[in-house]
Symmetry: C3
Subunit: 109 residues, 3 copies
């Protein structure tokens, strides 16, 4: 068994938790804080049999992977700022960090 | 040294913490949430010398192991529900998950 | 890569977080509780390349290592307690516990 210690943004945490438990994977959630930005994030403990590690990493990537989005400022903001406001800006969202640790023994008592 | 990452129900956490520290074992407690039931639970970090892992697992089993209990509805409830309420029902309590990780180095500074 | 699971006193946590991130190290902070004294403390997850483990342990020791301090009771207290109060007493501060775990795989998605 492997333990995937996975750090994701709070905004992606609920989606990931649902996607993993719906497919029968065990998950435990810890609240954490980023060392650099000092903002809240989420650390998941996910114990997975070796042959399913690849599947779980795909689920994490689909739900939390880094992606870019076009942020078109809301109409109201555009009025306030005049002609220039309407242009879309590209922002980066999401992102996840996965540490894979080897589990010597796993037991349920 | 091994690190036992142990997930138990909140109701058993205090008992386990007391049982471990009374016997001189080091313990750190993290608040966590179950991925499936989304209820609060407790994740303990327990660093233990290799030869004492078996003892610690026994202490965890004694204090948090899965057990069944006969729940006899309180007398007041029985009055309300009439003749059928008085029967006892069997419920499952407790349960613990233990991941054993190998610790390459342990140092106190 | 190694994962340094480091438990420090709350009073030293901010200093350590700043010292590590200023030098470009990745850090995640978890709130925790000591098993024996039942007081809040801080558990850091620090993923570090193998060759930098020694440097990070030095940063932890400098910022959180156990040290003694001379506590001279405040002047106001000395007045109240008369002649004997002015003597300094030695107190122990800080201290950190570091578990080094091997990371089989580290990925950012
Ligand atoms: N492989 C793993 N990796 C990381 N953490 C793990 C884990 N397996 C269990 N846990 C942790 O231990 C708690 C108790 O798990 P247990 O298996 O006794 O009891 C579980 C199990 O009987 C059931 N369950 C859990 N996940 C399920 C799923 N995806 N589908 C169906 N039933 C599930 O619901 C109970 C409560 O689960 P919950 O998630 O709320 O709480 C879980 C979770 O926090
Ligand atoms: N093997 C281990 N596994 C997991 N976590 C560990 C650990 N050893 C230490 N820790 C964590 O580090 C904190 C500081 O431990 P330290 O050994 O410096 O300082 C300890 C130690 O000097 C003493 N102590 C701890 N447990 C004891 C016990 N069972 N019996 C007697 N003294 C104990 O009390 C101080 C505070 O302990 P507290 O538990 O509140 O807080 C502990 C605990 O959160
Ligand atoms: N080696 C490691 N060990 C333990 N935890 C780790 C880690 N690497 C990343 N993390 C965790 O993952 C979060 C996201 O990291 P990411 O690298 O995507 O995104 C990072 C990275 O792009 C940047 N960053 C992080 N530390 C930095 C530093 N010391 N100097 C410059 N930029 C940094 O700021 C973003 C947010 O960082 P933050 O610390 O708030 O939040 C981090 C931290 O909680």
């Amino acid at each position: 068994m492997k333990l995937l210690l996975t750090i994701v943004q709070d905004t992606d945490a609920g989606k990931l938790q649902k996607a993993l438990t719906e497919r029968g994977f065990g998950v435990t959630k810890l609240s954490s804080t980023g060392g650099f930005l000092r903002q809240g994030n989420t650390t998941f403990l996910i114990g997975v049999e070796g042959e399913e590690v690849r599947v779980v990493k795909e689920i994490i990537t689909t739900n939390c992977g880094e992606r870019t989005d076009l942020l078109v400022p809301g109409a109201a903001m555009a009025d306030l700022e005049g002609v220039y406001a309407a242009q879309a800006t590209e922002v980066t969202l999401g992102g996840a960090i996965i540490f894979t640790l080897d589990v010597e023994d796993f037991v349920r008592v």
